[in-house]
């Protein structure tokens, strides 16, 4: 018993099951490269970026400490409200059709039996092209005089629109193109979600005499809400952060800043105007806002998602 008292007191936390330690040489082999790359190019930059945002740094000059000035400037910059409005315009204008149409497409594609893979092959094509290639094609489609879109517009009795150079129509042009590009992705997610709905529910409803519209409204819609939640989340993230490629190729934020959104302005500030500190601050503000929205959406799940 005395020998037990001779053992120095050890905090419970620092005692680890021996079995949790035995593989560490192998862990270094397997996880080492992953960890090093992760630390250098992902973990460190997260903190370093915050640090940079506290400086005024034009690459050619050494950084100058400004504390929270970048963040304060963000709220006073006249461009900021425009960026907020246009980011929202783009995001919401694209998301609503992207969610509704994707569900519609998924329902239709799910109903097709013959040549299922061919239909899906066609519908999912916009997905595999690069945003840059698609943007190049659509820039040509939107051309004022030779573009296909204006050709059809004129045929239907409208008048030509100089899409990408018109401050009113540039953003709708981008939205239409974005919907075309991202719809297949959401459709795939919805298709997966639809498979989860048990078939017997539809059969039971059909036996009870429910029309297909009622089946859709009372079975499909509620049971697909988990997927809808996922689709909403992914779409908003994709739009706010992934729209750079399209904007850079098609409008470069113009005409007259009418298609400038946050992610594009961050790039401009960092790599065209060389205001690294301010751009970094913008990036973090954007991230925090989106993160907060995601958390809010997560909490709201309880209200409208049926599992």
């Amino acid at each position: 018993m005395e020998s037990l008292k001779a053992i120095p007191a050890v905090k419970a936390r620092s005692w680890v099951r021996p079995s949790m330690q035995r593989d560490w040489p192998w862990a270094i082999l397997f996880l080492g490269p992953n960890l090093v790359l992760f630390a250098v190019f992902m973990a460190y930059p997260v903190f370093y970026g915050l640090y940079i945002s506290l400086f005024d740094w034009k690459i050619i000059q050494p950084p100058r400490w400004v504390g929270l000035d970048n963040y304060i400037h963000f709220f006073h910059d006249p461009l900021t409200p425009k960026l907020i409005w246009q980011s929202l315009y783009y995001a919401i204008g694209s998301t609503i059709p992207l969610v509704a149409l994707a569900l519609l497409c998924a329902v239709m594609l799910n109903a097709v039996i013959h040549g299922r893979y061919v239909w899906r092959g066609i519908y999912f094509l916009p997905l595999v092209t690069s945003p840059v290639a698609a943007a190049a094609v659509w820039t040509w489609l939107y051309a004022k005089d030779q573009g296909l879109i204006n050709y059809f517009l004129v045929k239907l009795g409208g008048s030509r629109i100089d899409w990408l150079f018109d401050t009113t129509w540039a953003m709708p042009a981008l939205i239409i193109m974005t919907i075309w590009k991202l719809l297949p992705f959401n459709t795939i997610l919805y298709l997966a979600g639809l498979q989860e709905i048990p078939a017997h529910l539809y059969e039971a409803a059909a036996i009870d005499g429910a029309s297909r519209w009622r089946q859709f409204r009372d079975i499909t819609l509620p049971l697909v809400t988990p997927t809808t939640f996922l689709v909403l989340l992914i779409t908003i993230l994709n739009l706010l952060f992934g729209s750079f490629d399209i904007i850079n190729v098609m409008t470069q934020g113009g005409p007259l800043q009418s298609t400038n959104v946050f992610i594009y302005n961050i790039y401009q500030n960092a790599f065209q105007y060389f205001r690294m500190g301010y751009a970094s601050a913008q990036a973090y503000i954007l991230f925090v806002v989106v993160f907060a929205l995601t958390v809010v959406n997560w909490r709201l799940q309880r209200k409208w998602v049926h599992y």
Partner: protein, 278 residues
């Protein structure tokens, strides 16, 4: 809707009509690209627009290849293949470590990985750029490739989840046969993971092939340019022959299109998997 259309032909006809309309909307930009790519410079600007070029200018594709430059295609291949192989190796090994090895802090570390998955890469592109500058890796292959390989948190997560499903008994048997973890990894885990490996490889190749923002930031000279950069430049130019531009666009899509026709299923699986990311 489980594939049951009532005998009533009207809704069925409506479905077909809508499906065909949708298919056309999806296809027309591609068809138009193909059509434009085979036109002479004057036919490109013809009004009303013609669908079938006369004469068919196959030479546009040759011009496009020379305009873009063989080097650019090579760079894209080098970049995409490197990313797939390196990231594949790193993420499968990492996933194996989290799934099968026992070490201090394993689960906490995994949670940190999961946490960073939620940060979009565009948020860290500026500091990552500075890191690459400090490593003197700007405008170099390592600077282009390695930061992308490092974005494997999702892959690590994916493989860990998949590897966890492989029954312990198989590993026990391997261990009794004297296999160390490295051998277990190569002889047992990986061969059993072919479906997820294929889907992951395909989707990673696609992402790397189409990547634009990071190369735009890191590449500073023509010798390292990748395809999306070249296409973006062509699209922005005013004096270009549109036919040649569209031919270049077609060339850039071709490898992916070929992969798509061969293995559509893997793409769809890969995309559904990346949907789990959020």
């Amino acid at each position: 809707m489980v594939g049951r259309i009532s005998r009533n032909p009207v809704p069925w006809l409506l479905l077909v009509l809508v499906l065909v309309a949708g298919a056309l909307i999806n296809l027309i930009p591609f068809l138009w690209t193909l059509s434009t790519s085979l036109k002479t410079a004057s036919e490109v600007f013809a009004y009303p627009p013609k669908w079938i070029p006369r004469p068919v200018v196959w030479h546009n594709y040759v011009s496009a290849y020379h305009l873009v430059g063989g080097r650019v295609f090579l760079n894209s291949v080098i970049f995409s293949v490197s990313v797939v192989l390196l990231q594949g190796l790193v993420t499968t090994m990492g996933g194996f470590a989290f799934a099968r090895l026992k070490f201090l802090g394993r689960d906490q570390m995994f949670l940190v990985y999961l946490g960073t998955m939620m940060i979009p890469t565009q948020v860290t592109m500026i500091p990552t750029f500075i890191v690459v500058v400090k490593l003197h890796w700007i405008d170099s292959y390592p600077g282009l490739i390695l930061p992308i390989v490092a974005q494997g948190a999702f892959g690590t997560f994916l493989f860990r989840q998949f590897f966890l499903k492989i029954p312990d008994e198989l590993y026990e048997a391997a261990r009794l046969d004297g296999a160390n973890p490295w051998q277990q990894f190569w002889r047992l885990t990986l061969p059993l993971s072919r479906p997820v490996l294929t889907a992951y490889g395909v989707i990673t190749f696609l992402t790397a092939w189409n990547l634009y923002l990071w190369p735009l930031i890191v590449v500073r000279s023509p010798r390292l340019k990748v395809i999306p950069m070249a296409i973006a430049e062509l699209s922005g130019g005013f004096s270009q022959d549109r036919g040649v531009t569209m031919a270049a666009v077609s060339l850039s899509i071709l490898p992916i299109l070929a992969l798509w026709i061969i293995g559509q299923r893997w793409f769809v699986e890969g995309i559904a998997m990346s949907g789990m990311k959020a």
